[in-house]
């Protein structure tokens, strides 16, 4: 037990705690600014951690990333601008709640279930880190292919409109993902000789355009009139929470488990977790027709999921030094820098550091509740600003956010193009969310597909030969085929009236 006590003692210094608190506040701010991701918050922290001891350095990263993932929900709910990609899956749902005057309720639920999700991910990290990382290590291109396809299949059914238009949106996203040099052959594709396009289309400016700028155009069309709903205050948040917790515990638990499992997989992080969980929530819901109208159920499940994924992503990072997502990829660099080389030996030589890391995880997620509530309350005040003033300001943020991704005007151009595209798509009832997911997952899908085809000499059977791949493949095909089967059955009933 000595190691656990030593680990906790490492954290309980005022300077360590202050560092963690400041990093949390920093994460809240960066996560809440659309266009700046949790990954970017962590990247901005790296130079600062050079001057720190190992434990505060790692602590700063943990608390900063946890806050940033939650904080992404704030602008997502209030302005339909996902602060981080991890919030994009349920942006529309949260925004619909805001339009009904329930912004406080949506944000309150986001804080509570984010914190609980983070704690669940931490719990799994603590008890099963070595075991689970071993399973994830078995993943090859076949498994990744199915995983990406499963994510895309979910995207089509996330939307409330026509699945056909969802698919068109998805294919547009996949096309966008194929622009650039990054493909199995390393050939510049669809770049039209433009050097900026060689590096591909960055999905963050694209996302800002599709979600935020299109919303600015849409509200400008109607003269940016104010909504005639009053935002209902949450009152005593703790009172409402008990009820939420009782009502939505199955969704919460499912989100936690899905999120942690996806987080553990290398390369798949909080973003994909949120998408898959939102789709699952709708699939299993007793009232799927309420989705899209500002319904808490899906929000609870996916916000539980993305924060749980964060803890899960640390499992392969700590045990094998394999990043579970882009955040842990940066963290691994810092771990090496601080002499905490990730790997099984870390558990042998430095057990107190491991326990300190676990303890910081718990602290960060508990601290999220008061900090997050304060930020959410401050954020809701934004809604009292008239929309004729808010919209131009959001546009300015869109421009800066898109620029800040690579510090280049290229990002602003992408944002603009996708802003117009998003506006036109929504005018035609084509949902934009599947397009975003297509851009995000396109590269992984292509790479794993082409690699697998080369490995199996062009035989599709190769995709089912490995046990995990086979299982994932069957699940994916079921997800894709069940709606088709339902449609066929419906047709048959219509042609043969009983």
């Amino acid at each position: 037990m000595g190691a656990i006590e030593n680990g906790i003692a490492l954290v309980l210094h005022w300077d360590v705690l202050l560092t963690i608190f400041l990093a949390a506040a920093f994460g809240l701010v960066v996560g809440a600014i659309p266009g700046l991701t949790a990954t970017m918050a962590i990247a901005l922290l790296v130079p600062v951690t050079f001057f720190m001891d190992p434990i505060p350095a790692v602590g700063a990263m943990i608390s900063c990333s946890a806050m940033a993932i939650f904080a992404g929900d704030i602008p997502s709910t209030l302005m339909r601008m996902p602060g981080t990609p991890a919030s994009a899956a349920y942006t529309d749902e949260c925004y619909a709640m805001t339009r009904k005057g329930q912004a406080q309720l949506a944000l309150g639920a986001n804080v509570l279930f984010s914190a609980l999700g983070g704690l669940f991910g931490t719990f799994v990290l603590i008890i099963s880190a070595p075991l689970l990382a071993e399973v994830a290590l078995q993943f090859s291109s076949f498994e990744y292919f199915w995983l990406a396809l499963l994510g895309l299949a979910c995207a089509i059914f996330i939307g409330t409109g026509s699945p056909l238009k969802g698919m068109i949106s998805l294919f547009i996203g996949l096309f966008v993902a194929s622009i650039g040099l990054e493909n199995p052959a390393g050939i510049p594709r669809f770049t039209m000789g433009n050097t900026d396009l060689m590096s591909g289309v960055d999905f963050i400016p694209a996302m800002i355009g599709l979600f935020a700028m299109s919303e600015v155009i849409r509200s400008m069309v109607s003269g940016a009139q104010d909504w005639d709903v009053k935002q209902v205050a949450l009152g005593n948040p703790l009172k409402g929470w008990g009820h939420l917790f009782v009502k939505y515990w199955p969704q919460q638990l499912r989100g936690n488990i899905t999120g942690t499992a996806i987080g553990i997989l290398p390369g798949a992080g909080a973003d994909i977790a949120a998408w898959v969980s939102f789709a699952m929530s709708r699939k299993f819901s007793k009232t799927p027709e309420k989705f899209g109208t500002g319904h808490l159920e899906g929000i609870v499940e996916s916000t539980s999921s993305n924060n749980a994924a964060l803890g899960g992503a640390w499992v392969p990072a700590l045990v094998f030094g394999i990043p579970g997502d882009s955040i842990t990829a940066i963290v691994i660099g810092v771990l090496y820098l601080k002499g905490l080389n990730p790997g099984p030996t870390l558990f042998l030589n430095n057990p107190e550091s491991i326990y300190a890391i676990f303890f910081i995880f718990i602290l960060a997620n508990v601290a999220m509740v008061p900090l997050g509530l304060a930020a959410a309350r401050a954020g809701t005040a934004l809604l009292n600003i008239p929309r004729r003033i808010l919209m131009p300001i959001i546009l300015a943020f869109c421009v800066v956010g898109a620029f800040a991704v690579n510090n280049a005007v290229y990002g602003v151009i992408i944002m603009l193009v996708f802003g117009v595209l998003g506006f036109l798509m929504e005018e035609h009832e084509v949902p934009v969310a599947p397009c975003v997911l297509g851009i995000v997952l396109g590269k992984m899908l292509e790479e794993s597909f082409v690699t697998s085809m080369i490995k199996s000499d062009g035989s599709f059977l190769g995709f089912f030969e490995r046990p995990i791949a086979g299982g994932l493949g069957v699940v994916t095909l079921l997800v894709l085929l069940i709606p088709v089967w339902g449609w066929l059955r419906g047709r048959m009933r219509r042609t043969q009236p009983a």
Binding site: L164, F171, A185, R388, V420
Partner: protein, 154 residues
């Protein structure tokens, strides 16, 4: 403003065919059956299939008028729709010359006025927004925003 699903379907099919044509011109990897063209070709096939399905659906259920103008009948609404796009383009042209603060103040200020915010409010507000954004991004987050005359004083 929208076109009906039949026209949308034709646009999707044309896009898919164009993508397929462009993809099939990509050079193969020597000695490899699967190269850069595989994935865009699959995407193109997907688009074309979706286009046909959407077109069939539209034909069955009656496509409605080819173009529904809706809000676009109103000239002021059309102008307001074009305004954010024009504002961003203007920003990109002006920022390298005037610097971030002036270009942003012009962009937001112009939109404020278009949305009928009173000028006495619009101008100071646009300047405050530009300055605060500049401070938080250029100093707080070290984003190298374009510098001009005003930024030298800040």
């Amino acid at each position: 403003m929208r076109v009906n699903d039949l026209i949308l379907a034709i646009m999707v099919i044309v896009g898919g065919v164009a993508l397929a044509a462009a993809a099939s011109r990509l050079p193969p990897i020597p000695g490899q059956a699967y190269g850069a063209e595989v994935f865009p070709l699959l995407t193109a096939v997907g688009l074309i299939l979706c286009g046909f399905a959407l077109g069939a659906q539209a034909l069955r259920s009656g496509a409605g008028p080819a173009i529904a103008l809706g809000w676009a009948r109103e000239r002021a609404a059309l102008m307001r729709a074009a305004a954010p796009v024009a504002a961003v383009i203007a920003y990109m042209l002006l920022a390298p010359r005037l610097g971030f603060v002036l270009a942003t103040a012009l962009m937001t200020g112009g939109l404020f006025v278009l949305l009928r915010v009173r000028v006495v409010v619009a101008i100071p507000l646009a300047i405050v927004v530009a300055v605060i954004t500049y401070y938080s991004f250029a100093y707080g987050l070290r984003v190298p925003l374009p510098r001009g005359l005003v930024e030298g004083w800040l």
